[in-house]
Symmetry: C2
Subunit: 706 residues, 2 copies
């Protein structure tokens, strides 16, 4: 699916506002009209029945009376009139509309019906509709303030590289306020409200490729088009643009709230998390954390290989920062000798030039020149990729220190974060103007550098979205196997394994036979001793208990003996049971047991899982989940990430070759789910991994109910 | 060990400052003198060689010249003179000293030697010494500002129920500043600096029992007396006083920094974490988080059973709060019908009275009366124990809303937290005066309520520190077994199992015998078929490979046959090997495998661990660690907490009776470590848990090197 071209909506050449009143300058329409006319530098019309061209030459009495050049119709009329206005605009051929009015799907059945009408008008005419129940957008690079929430006399905010997208208008104003406090320059802020037509993901797809956007950040309560989200994430990774996301409704309580609030379903949170991992999206737990990260990503500098220098005037602060750095995966390496010499000359003997670097309060008090020289020396060191400063200064001295930090930062291309809890407005202004990310807590400053590092690290391993590889011939054969299954939704073990074999997933060979002679012949044919022989009977679920299982049979004689003993024992224990024959089964060599699975999420579509197998491991219940289809690299990352990497690093785990083979299995299980959407669930337990490679011992495939 | 009585140090009747200069009012001594004289209302002397009683009637020229009534000597002279001043004070019988001067153990070998001299003076005279290198303390209930970091003209801070204790002076000023911003009223702020004599834990032990202290919070880089820390934590839990702690140096990088910075060792962070879990200490990851929690704990209200109402003017904010509440273990239950009716009359139809409650921006704009009535209705509901409000208001309206919230809060005893990112100074003042905890982020407000809830929850399950139960007779027998072991530090399997048996830990019976006949006799004597027979030979580490192991032997005949076959097979495979005989071993019934361990931490002393066993489980490597000795309740909590509770809840896990038996084993492994401190390490792998109870199959005990 191609992106929607949102130019008419988000960068319109001419705009008309319906619902701005000549007599009430405080309505949302009037406020938006005011802001647009202050800055936009393009025709902004007003539509109002009492419009008087003598008072306002850019006003008309109806949508019909507008000139042909209008790209965007902004609608702020009462809910009862919205559909008529939109219809008039669509009829006139206006390509886009923005509807501020609320009281649609979020307000009950009647509103939902009206919203459906809007959707239909769009479907018939191609009109792009943002809203209803949206607070509009800012496109600051084009000086467009298509919103009503800013103060009437606000200055035009400085446009920057960050694009924020939010479904909720309230959260958007929260983000905008907070971002401004933090020195984050948003070039874009787009809200999507009820998403009757244009969705959050449409906006993200439009923005991710725009050259002026270098950092993407969004929040949403329900993602309705996860494929589009995957496209955005993959594109952002490809272009090297960090993408920060806060998904509201990640918890059961949150999801319930979303459903009652927006009437939209959200898919399983674990699947969303998997998508973020697969495509390098930085998922933040709160808006505060998201803004902490965006502030760090905005400068576009690098955290290199994560070697961080920690500078403060107190040993205790240094230790706390070192703890935070360690926990977040940054490296706190010792300052090299030659750099220590430079620093030691600038600090008292009871300070420390090791890392963390304790310049002491005394060195700070002794003058700002030495502060800057110390910081210059740290930036100049080859041993560090970034610097985090903790400061608790107040008063007159702090502005001098802020200037020193700003000057040092201007002379380097390395990354800097400042944790300065007592930062006053004047000093903050100095740091913000210099483009330096500041934090009210030193641990948060460290964590933000770690987020940048994580982005850079993951970016290198994010693979593009896999091309959808539907193999039609294979699909036909799969459907044939499915159709053999009787009315029950679960396939038999044999059918399940046939399907897996079709997708080149190695399964234990096995075959039901009618007699002991046939069992011997089948075992010879398999040519893969040792084998297992089991009694085949629907009436004997616990075969071992009745002497119905013999394992480790090394040759034809052993198979014959086992078959005879089984039939005798079963006849003795359960003379009543109907015996269907014998099952001859290849015996998997001993090895590490894993479990694979697949599931179809109602919103996010097919997913696959891989986890450790075995009895106690079920208790531990650790699995990695990924969205299908997936690339071999994504599959490998899922497997090597199990148990904190120990599945691969541990002597009793699996080796690199086995990881590659297992990754192939995971990819192909995903392909099966993608190609055959009649399957709702796959449970493969266990897959036994030995030197001979992975082998599926048991598998169950479930068809969806149609 | 009894607490140190720190009255003379922290609540002295009369004080003398040495090192305040009549001519330099900016020195640290002079600044402290100034603050003490402003507020303390008790005699504060100055000691200075050029003191002139005409200028200052409370000044003397030497320590000798001081009156007998002095309790506390505050020392701010240069490092070279400190020891002499302290000696003079001690000689005079002054019971306590506070040393601001730095340049001791933190500044090299010479300073360390001087610090050792201070310690010796204290040991000889009983003088309590706080410091050197400390910034002193505030005891605001007694109007004592024994410090130099506050501005000369500061007002006397309002004393409150919170006591802060910090080793680092810099972190203490950070805490003090931040606490004041957050409306936290510290009654105490004590720093301990280099801890030559008085340690952080001494101060905590002194403060925890004081009636005016209701919340305890501390931070330290290295805990040198973990037993005292355990006593404080257990006492705090007993008295219902929350205890929040930030341990700097929790990571390898942080620990390295601590060592270079304070030259003190810190114990393994996992052990500290275990102590916090055992004794209900709220361990925060950063100072910001600690202060978030303290602000919530200060009012002394309850979070009840954790049912939280979430109120905002936006659906999106409600969802984000619900996510945070869910993740933090709070309950977001629906508003009951009768309460919804009250709320519905006060909000527009597109709002929501469900929980999260979206009152809408419109309801907020419509007037502050309805705001207060909505909040009153929520507080009045039986369905909620606490309320979290998210607000993004700015401007004139916010102060009215703050007053409405304050009025509603005054009329209830329930808990409230306000997340208000755009809170202005005036509105903040209203909320702070009302005693309401405020947060710059709504998720942080929710998390703080969860911390209160966690404290209340854990308080109920914290057991007092176990009485040390040294059984002297048992200890003598244990030492006898240890002494049998030869020079190697590892005991044999048999010796290890004997020791465990002595502590009533059930071990697999086994005995080495010389011949097949003896093996049969031994098996008959054990009377616990099936048994295992193994070849006994130090030269055959891989017994199975040479046919040296036979399992599942059901009777005497089987044992005889097995013994003969083993000897034949071994003679065939390894004719060269010296055979010591045969091992007859009880065969544990199949069951869940666990691993137990014990270790002696250089700082924290004996610890025990319990985790899941089995091959793949080693890969997963999850263990619970606890400090020994431990109570049966603490042991039970450690076991039931494994794998997120699934070891107990899962069908393939263990049942309640088995948990009790396993908890007993854990307690007794701890007792063994406590009683016999010659043991450095115990490794019990596996313990097999079947219907017959736990049974140790293999064990290894290691003696410490002396």
């Amino acid at each position: 699916m191609p992106n929607l071209n949102l130019d008419a909506l988000l960068n319109p050449a001419a705009i008309a506002v319906v619902g701005a009143s000549p007599s009430n300058s405080n309505g949302v329409g009037s406020r938006a009209l005011h802001q647009l006319r202050r800055f936009a530098g393009r025709p902004i019309f007003m539509v109002h029945p009492r419009a008087n061209p003598d008072d306002d030459p850019m006003s008309v009495v109806s949508v019909d009376a507008l000139p042909e050049s209008i790209d965007l119709l902004i609608v702020a009329v009462p809910a009862a009139h919205v559909v008529d206005v939109i219809r008039a605009g669509a009829t006139k051929g206006i390509p886009a509309a923005l509807i501020f009015t609320s009281g649609f799907a979020e307000g009950g059945a009647e509103g939902a019906a009206a919203q459906q009408e809007l959707r239909e008008i769009s479907a018939q005419t191609g009109m792009l509709i943002n809203g209803p129940n949206t607070i509009g957008f800012l496109n600051l690079h084009e000086r467009l303030l298509a919103t009503f929430y800013l103060p009437a006399d606000c200055e035009l905010p400085t446009p920057g590289p960050v694009a924020f997208v939010s479904q909720s208008g309230a959260l958007a104003t929260y983000i905008d306020d907070l971002a401004r406090d933090r020195g984050i320059n948003a070039g874009w802020l787009v809200t999507t409200g009820n998403e009757s037509v244009v969705r959050l993901t449409d906006v993200l797809e439009y923005l991710v490729e725009r050259p002026e956007v270098r950092v993407l950040a969004g929040t949403s309560e329900g993602l309705t088009d996860v494929d589009a989200f995957v496209r955005v994430a993959a594109k952002a990774a490809e272009l090297g643009k960090p993408f920060v996301f806060v998904k509201a409704g990640s918890s059961p309580a949150g999801m319930t709230a979303v459903m009652s609030h927006t009437a939209s379903i959200s898919g399983a949170d674990e699947v969303f998390d998997a998508v973020c991992q697969q495509y390098g999206v930085l998922r933040a737990a709160s808006l505060e954390e998201a803004l902490d990260w965006v502030a760090m990503l905005q400068p576009g500098r690098s955290a290199g290989s994560g070697r961080v220098a920690l500078l403060s005037g107190s040993g205790g602060a240094g230790v706390l920062m070192a703890d935070a750095a360690d926990a977040a995966g940054l490296e706190v390496l010792p300052t090299p000798e030659q750099d220590r010499k430079v620093i030691d000359e600038l600090i008292p003997s009871f300070g420390s030039s090791a890392n963390p670097i304790d310049m002491t309060a005394q060195a700070i008090a002794s003058g700002v020149e030495s502060y800057q020289r110390i910081l210059d020396a740290i930036f100049a060191s080859d041993a560090f990729d970034s610097v985090v400063i903790a400061s608790g200064l107040r008063g007159a001295q702090s502005i001098d220190v802020a200037h020193a930090i700003a000057a040092s930062y201007a002379s380097t291309t390395k990354t800097l974060a400042v944790g300065w809890y007592s930062l006053n407005a004047e000093s903050r202004e100095v740091l913000v103007r210099a483009g330096i990310p500041t934090y009210p807590d030193m641990s948060r400053a460290v964590n933000a550098v770690a987020a940048l590092r994580r982005f850079e690290d993951e970016r290198s391993s994010v693979t593009p979205e896999p091309a959808t590889r539907v193999d039609k011939a294979r699909r036909v054969r799969a459907l044939a196997i499915l159709s053999e299954a009787d009315v029950s939704t679960a396939l038999t073990e044999e059918q399940s394994k046939s399907l897996l074999s079709l997708y080149e997933i190695p399964v234990v060979q096995e075959r039901g036979v009618a007699s002991v002679d046939d069992a011997v012949a089948m075992a010879e044919q398999m040519a893969s001793y040792p084998v297992v022989v089991k009694v085949l009977s629907a009436e004997l679920p616990h075969k071992s208990d009745v002497g119905g299982v013999k394992v480790g049979l090394a040759d034809a004689d052993a198979v014959r003996r086992a078959g005879e003993e089984i039939l005798t024992a079963v006849a003795q224990h359960r003379p009543d049971a109907v015996i269907d024959g014998l099952l001859v089964q290849q015996m998997a060599p001993p090895g590490v047991e894993l479990v694979f699975g697949a599931h179809r999420d109602p919103v996010f579509g097919p997913t696959v899982t891989v986890g450790l197998g075995g009895v106690l491991v079920e208790v531990i219940a650790e699995v990695a989940l990924r969205k299908a289809p997936l690339t071999i690299e994504q599959a490998r990352a899922a497997i090597t990430g199990l148990s904190g990497g120990r599945l691969v690093s541990h002597a009793r785990g699996v080796d690199r070759n086995q990881v590659d083979e297992l990754a192939g299995v995971l990819v192909r299980v995903g392909d099966l789910m993608v190609e055959v959407d009649q399957i709702s669930e796959i449970d493969i337990n266990p897959v036994i991994v030995s030197a001979a490679g992975p082998l599926v011992a048991d598998a169950l495939i479930v068809r969806g109910t149609e």
